[in-house]
């Protein structure tokens, strides 16, 4: 303590960041740069012919995709709708299940520490599993189709939603909750009156956001057998029917854009 004030009074300006932090950040920076350089070098070596050849190959393949065979659009509309339904169902179920999980993993609401740590850990573990892995596991368990896809998406979105919403809950103004507790309200009443109005706009916004993610994810999940448009795309690619595949890609592109646009507009209106 005295030492510090001494060095200040001698007129030396202290650094904005502690020296230790500075060294740490510098080391981390160089390690990251090193990893980048190494992986660039390594990928080059692994690719036969390097980047140049890969780009040439790409052009050849891309040419095969054109023109897209748009005449199949009526036929692929059904699986596309399935994909959207998959995302809707999964998002809805996840939104409902998120509520108790988010409350239990919010430190200001769940004051019983062991329970809080338990749900926190559970959610952290959930979030480490990639959606594709979930889909592969559930397709293995339930067979090819929409059901395993929906289950995978529910678990995947639960991980994200519960985390985002529990953090929103933790940032809430606790004063009105105290007032309601002081007037004799029970825990459910306190939550519904004091907490819900404060988190509802954020909640809706996050659900819409996760819905957007789920639309895209459900396409990808289809590729590993979880039904919907992704499955059809996978089949067409398997038959080397590139014009059909391209038509599917165009459809997905348009649908995702439209849904994101709508959802963005809704979210803007909310906040």
């Amino acid at each position: 303590m005295t030492k510090q004030s001494n060095s200040l009074s001698q007129g030396t300006t202290p650094p904005i960041f502690p020296v230790k932090t500075k060294i740490q950040v510098t080391v981390i920076f160089f390690v990251v740069i090193g990893v980048y350089l190494f992986s660039m070098f390594w990928t080059q070596q692994q690719m036969v012919g390097g980047f140049g050849n890969a780009i040439g190959n790409m052009v050849v393949v891309i040419e095969k995709f054109f023109p897209p065979n748009l005449s199949i659009l009526p036929a692929i509309w059904d699986p596309m709708a399935q994909t959207i339904q998959m995302a809707i169902i999964a998002t809805t179920v996840a939104a409902v299940l998120t509520v108790p999980l988010a409350l239990l993993s919010a430190q200001n609401i769940t004051t019983f520490k062991p329970l809080y740590y338990f749900t926190r850990t559970l959610l952290n573990i959930l979030r480490t599993i990639p959606d594709l892995v979930l889909a592969v596991v559930f397709v293995g368990l339930f067979g090819i189709g929409l059901f395993p896809g929906i289950i995978a998406l529910i678990i995947f979105s639960l991980g994200i939603l519960a985390k985002l919403i529990s953090e929103t809950i933790e940032a809430v103004d606790m004063n009105p909750l105290e007032a309601m507790r002081a007037s004799g309200g029970n825990i459910l009443q306190v939550i519904f009156y004091g907490l819900v109005p404060q988190v509802l706009p954020q909640f809706t916004s996050f659900v819409l956001y996760v819905f957007e993610i789920n639309i895209r994810a459900s396409v990808v999940l289809g590729l590993v057998g979880a039904g919907g448009i992704g499955l059809v795309l996978d089949q067409q690619l398997g038959f080397y029917n590139y014009p059909n595949a391209m038509a599917i890609i165009v459809l997905i592109f348009v649908v995702v854009l439209v849904i994101e646009y709508i959802s963005n507009k809704l979210r803007e209106a909310l906040i």
């Binding site: 007032a179 309200g185 009443q189």
Partner: protein, 258 residues
């Protein structure tokens, strides 16, 4: 009647919030608690509705020791004690009516309150309460659209809607300007007299304490160092409570403006 008997409170971190408190507050009294910051005024007030729990002694409210209360006993106790806070503690995003109706939570079933199925009498009572503090025209405004004084009046209306036997007010005017402070204190005093609701108010300001209190309790370092009717209080009393001479900022002023 509220009876503190040898009450002590030690916070988990070892701070002694209250030391050997013996105080009896009779029905209908208007008591003002004064003392420096950290003297234990909030701890005293919050013990009464058990937002904090004393660690020794017994605390009787209407002849029942409330220190053993848990769960539904505790909620029932709290329904008869209204509380007013320095920061109004309204749900800012909800409208005034909904905030005031929250005063009925303790009297309303969980299902009814969650689905906003309030009884007609309750809504009527909420509206009447808003009228009593002259803020009924803001019924459907969001709470965060109101000024501080208006928000505090809404929070008084919320307490009125609760139909309490006791009102606790923890620094209700600390965030308000002088005229508004007097307005809020006047409402509290009026309610105390008209409804015969025992009222305990924490205040920083000496002149306000003198103007509104029937009885003043002075605290220092967790102990009651003065307790008596306002007629026995002089500037010297405050100097003893505060342990220093009285300064300009111990006074709110502005009594004539309202």
């Amino acid at each position: 009647m509220i009876e503190f008997k040898d009450i002590g409170l030690v916070y988990p971190n070892g701070t002694e919030g209250l030391k050997n408190i013996n105080v009896t507050i009779n029905d209908g009294e208007f008591v003002v608690m004064v003392g420096l910051s950290g003297a234990g005024k909030s701890t005293f007030i919050r013990s009464i509705n058990r937002l904090v729990t004393p660690t020794s002694g017994s605390l009787l409210i209407d002849d029942e020791d409330i220190l053993s209360y848990r769960g539904s006993d505790l909620r029932k106790l709290r329904t008869k004690i209204g509380m007013i806070f320095q920061n109004y503690n309204l749900v800012k995003r909800s409208n005034v009516l909904k905030n005031v109706l929250a005063g009925r939570l303790g009297h309303t079933g969980t299902f009814r309150s969650i689905f906003n199925l309030y009884k007609k009498e309750d809504v009527g009572l909420a509206y009447e309460s808003l009228k009593r503090v002259n803020i009924d025209e803001k019924l459907y405004n969001r709470a965060d659209e109101l000024s501080g004084g208006q928000q505090q009046r809404v929070s008084i209306a919320r307490v009125l809607t609760q139909k309490p036997k006791y009102i606790l007010a923890d620094e209700p005017v600390a965030s308000l300007d002088p005229p508004t402070s007097h307005q809020v204190m006047t409402y509290l005093k009026k309610i105390n007299k008209e409804d015969n609701i025992t009222t305990i108010v924490n205040l920083h300001f000496i002149d306000m304490a003198m103007e509104y209190a029937d009885r003043i309790i002075g605290m220092r370092a967790g102990e009651v160092v003065f307790d008596g009717p306002v007629s026995e209080v002089s500037e010297k009393t405050f100097e003893e409570i505060y342990g220093r001479t009285i300064r300009e900022d111990d006074l709110r002023g502005g009594a004539n403006e309202s």
